[in-house]
Symmetry: C2
Subunit: 309 residues, 2 copies
């Protein structure tokens, strides 16, 4: 991967934006004991919004489109999200704001082993928002990364992108059985383990991937934390090894994987190579505290991979 020989690509990320309130703790809170955090920060979160940060850190152009609360000036959470996104150089100009609803917010605890516990509030009214002009949104995109938190919003963007025949990666992270429409209209699906189990109705990840392949011609893979990535290669199950690292914080690691994967496809890499880069980016992210703010630069990913070749 040389950054010199690829033009700067543009990846549009569509889906959920969240403001994450992140508490660093020794142990997760338990009822009736007040847990003291050693650190607190407010960072951006949400699958698609996080993927946009990862893409921007890798040196590409990232834009984000997804429903926010509103209006501006009254929804403090959405205003804070946009200010943080602007700092990362992410174009959020096509985000619809839903008046009277709050932007999604999460409280997240990260423990001494780097594991996270998340509680999220998402106002149902956000799901009614639609892209103002999906065709315009994707007009100069080289790839799209969409999550399945707002399936109808994402579907419009994905259809417009597929009409242009660019790669469309679905992050099927949310456990839901109603994502079938999305599965059928994207070119690539990368499940979370939890998302795949819910979609396939089975606990066995490999068998579930094969089951889902009967419903969509899309490329299929599943990430599973620190375990290897499973994927289907012409009906055969294969693995992309996860890199072993000292884990400090897994928050945003999956999103980093999806963002890096979509960017590599935008740059014309094959899926196996793209997943290897994505796995490296996700592993590096896990070594750093601060949610998606720990996403690596392209130079860091290149050095990480070079050291392991």
């Amino acid at each position: 991967m040389s950054s010199a020989d690829t033009a700067r690509k543009h990846v549009l990320c569509a889906g959920i934006a969240v403001l994450d309130q992140v508490f660093r703790v020794a142990n997760f809170p338990r009822p009736d004991v007040k847990t003291q955090a050693s650190e607190f920060r407010t960072v951006n979160g949400g699958n698609a919004a996080n993927a946009a940060v990862a893409i921007s850190r890798l040196g590409a152009r990232a834009s984000f489109a997804g429903p926010l609360g509103g209006p501006a000036g009254e929804d403090a959470v959405g205003d804070a999200f946009l200010a943080l996104a602007a700092r990362e150089g992410i174009d959020c100009s096509a985000c619809p704001r839903v008046d009277g609803a709050p932007t999604s917010i999460s409280a997240i605890c990260i423990d001494s082993r780097g594991e996270r516990a998340i509680v999220n509030f998402r106002d149902d009214r956000l799901a009614a928002a639609r892209p103002v002009n999906a065709a315009a949104l994707v007009a100069d995109a080289d790839a799209v990364m969409a999550d399945n938190r707002f399936p109808e919003f994402a579907a419009e963007v994905c259809r417009a992108a597929r009409a242009r025949r660019i790669p469309v990666v679905l992050d099927a992270d949310e456990p839901r059985r109603d994502s079938n429409d999305l599965l059928a209209i994207v070119s690539h699906v990368v499940f979370s383990a939890e998302g795949l189990r819910a979609t396939a109705g089975s606990d066995h990840l490999g068998r579930s991937l094969i089951d889902v392949s009967k419903r969509t011609p899309a490329f299929l893979a599943v990430t599973d934390g620190r375990n290897d990535v499973l994927w289907l290669d012409g009906g055969e199950l294969r693995q992309v090894p996860a890199f072993a690292v000292d884990v400090v914080d897994t928050l945003g690691a999956g999103d980093t994987f999806h963002g890096a994967f979509a960017l590599m496809l935008a740059e014309g890499r094959n899926e196996r190579d793209a997943m290897r880069v994505a796995a490296a980016a996700a592993a590096l992210k896990c070594t750093r505290y601060g949610g998606i703010l720990g996403a690596p630069t392209r130079a860091e990913v290149e050095a990480f991979l070079a050291a392991r070749d």
Copy 2:
């Protein structure tokens, strides 16, 4: 308790102010599963700040003094706290703001049984703040309610109040062994169970109260959730029965108890009566969702007690 025959008293609450981000959940978050909240709201929290809300709801004058982050306009958490306190009619004009530090913030989950799980971040620099003029703060107070989160800040206020011989109630909620100074300079100590265990170094609440009584001449009691309140009456252990209610949300219940107790002392009631009113106020609070926003009015407490006499 007739509101007609007591002049409107003023209780100063000194200690911690927190902005609480409250998530209503079916079950507490667990690692690696995203918990969806059915409701989210931002409310004021912190022991002393909550007690001020409870006092104001009971129809008295409440003021609050405690370290906030700062400066105004830059510490969004502190600004939000002050705006919410103003809505409750609480005078916060004597709160020092510590430039460069954030005001304390908590994320709190309340589950379907009304139990709470709390994570809190408190910047160490807040502990360096001192009252600008403790004597002026307490000059027209009829009682003081202080918590033990900022012992040195509280100690100055408590000493000034004791010099005026008004009741000074310490909420010894935080488990700490260094509260001995505070124990000795207040007139009343109401422990949380956790706070008493840490102070006495023993799990037995009754025995712990007797142990602590050797260190201070103050009135001593301990609250223990839905269990009866234990207190020492001239060396004898006694109980104030807790009222059985359908619990929706215990967040702020202890603070409601402390606020009501201090106010009743300010109105000249004896401790046993004051604790009965406080237990009623706390029980009513538990029947309502929304943290301290569920604290009852005086009319509600009077009706509750009248129905049980």
